[in-house]
Amino acid sequence: MDPVITGLFVGVFVGFVMQRGRFCMNSAFRDIILLKDYTLIKTVVLALLVGLAGFAIMAYAGVITLNPKPLWWGANLIGSFIFGIGMVIAGGCASGITYRIGEGMVGAMTAVLGLAIGGYLTAAGFLNGIASSLQTSTKITAADGSNLTLANVLGINYSVLALIIVVIVVVIWYIIDRKNFEADAGWGWMTTGFLIGLGSILAFPLSAAAGRNYPLGITAGWVGTVKKVLNISEVSFSWIAWLVIGIVVGSFIAALIAKEFKLRAPAIRVLVQTFVGGLLMGFGAVTSGGCNIGHILSGVPQLSLGSILAAISIILGAWLMSYIMFVLPMKRAESED
């Protein structure tokens, strides 16, 4: 199928959902320690569970062939930690800054520019040496050379293990949080989490049909777009480049309908800050082999050990930086008077 149509289609769908549901993992992780607000993290966990169940069924039915990312423990730890720090500085995760372009936020545009440039310099520029030596020197594979996943480490069939995990997590979640479990009207965490998971399920076979056997991603799409815009490479727009463009378009449509679109430019200092944050995210994502979408939304449900390690590292980096940038200043502001 034509990557232009399927990439744009999935992108517009996911972008629309992200804007309406405010889907941002940076906010999700940060709100836990800063505001004690768990709404967005519930959206993220639900999206992962829906993706996990969907991948399990599609893999069992032979609709998809899993393609878990490799475990490069050094690159996953360091790259994703830097990515986590970068997203707090940039004011959004890779998907958050992408959909906020569609809302007219200039700070998100400079962040994405940083992400694309940082990613490009790491994938093909002078930073490539650091990233690739970290990756090759810390790579661990299974005995047969395949990438490590929870399924092959434990020796259990992927689809079986995935469904067991879904059931266990749902039961635990229900027990600890059942009073907040009622379905919410409109675009609460339940609707958004379910639809993001659905987007992830749709993306896998459609992207594979276009020659890229992986679900959703963001960073590679922006790096590819920059390459094309600057005419650095002769390659045509890939599926993932159409996907990120689609996300911006979908979010723009959603923002227009909700009357939330407005061109908003913060102070120059903030634009520089989000650009620098984006650069760190780009370096971190390419070093670790994925951003919060590639590793967390798409990689964790494939049970890749590299993605699980990257996810933990992103969260720890985000918490450290949130503590320095927000928790400490707020404590200071409250104590003075």
Binding site: R30, T39, G92, P266, E334
Partner: protein, 84 residues
């Protein structure tokens, strides 16, 4: 409007994004006495939804969430009096 509430204090968070509107609102309310009213002006959609939810949890009373133009909103919150 006859039931117009006169805010004790106003903070303008327009143009600011996550998490500054939330943090500034939280900090301002902690320093206000019981019954004083804080007016928050903001245009960041996520915080428009999140501030009322979280301020209620902290015991403050959300009096009004009013849509002005486009994404611009005005939120009125009565302080619980954490200072006292």
């Amino acid at each position: 409007m006859s039931d117009e509430i006169i805010p004790t204090k106003t903070i303008d968070e327009c143009g600011k994004i996550c998490p500054y509107p939330d943090m500034d609102t939280m900090t301002a309310l902690k320093k206000m006495g019981k019954g004083e009213v804080l007016e928050v002006l903001l245009d960041y959609p996520l915080s428009v939804e999140r501030i009322p939810r979280n301020m209620k949890k902290q015991g403050h009373k959300v009096l009004k969430v009013e849509r002005l133009e486009g994404p611009n909103h005005r939120i009125l919150i009565e302080a619980y009096g954490l200072k006292d």
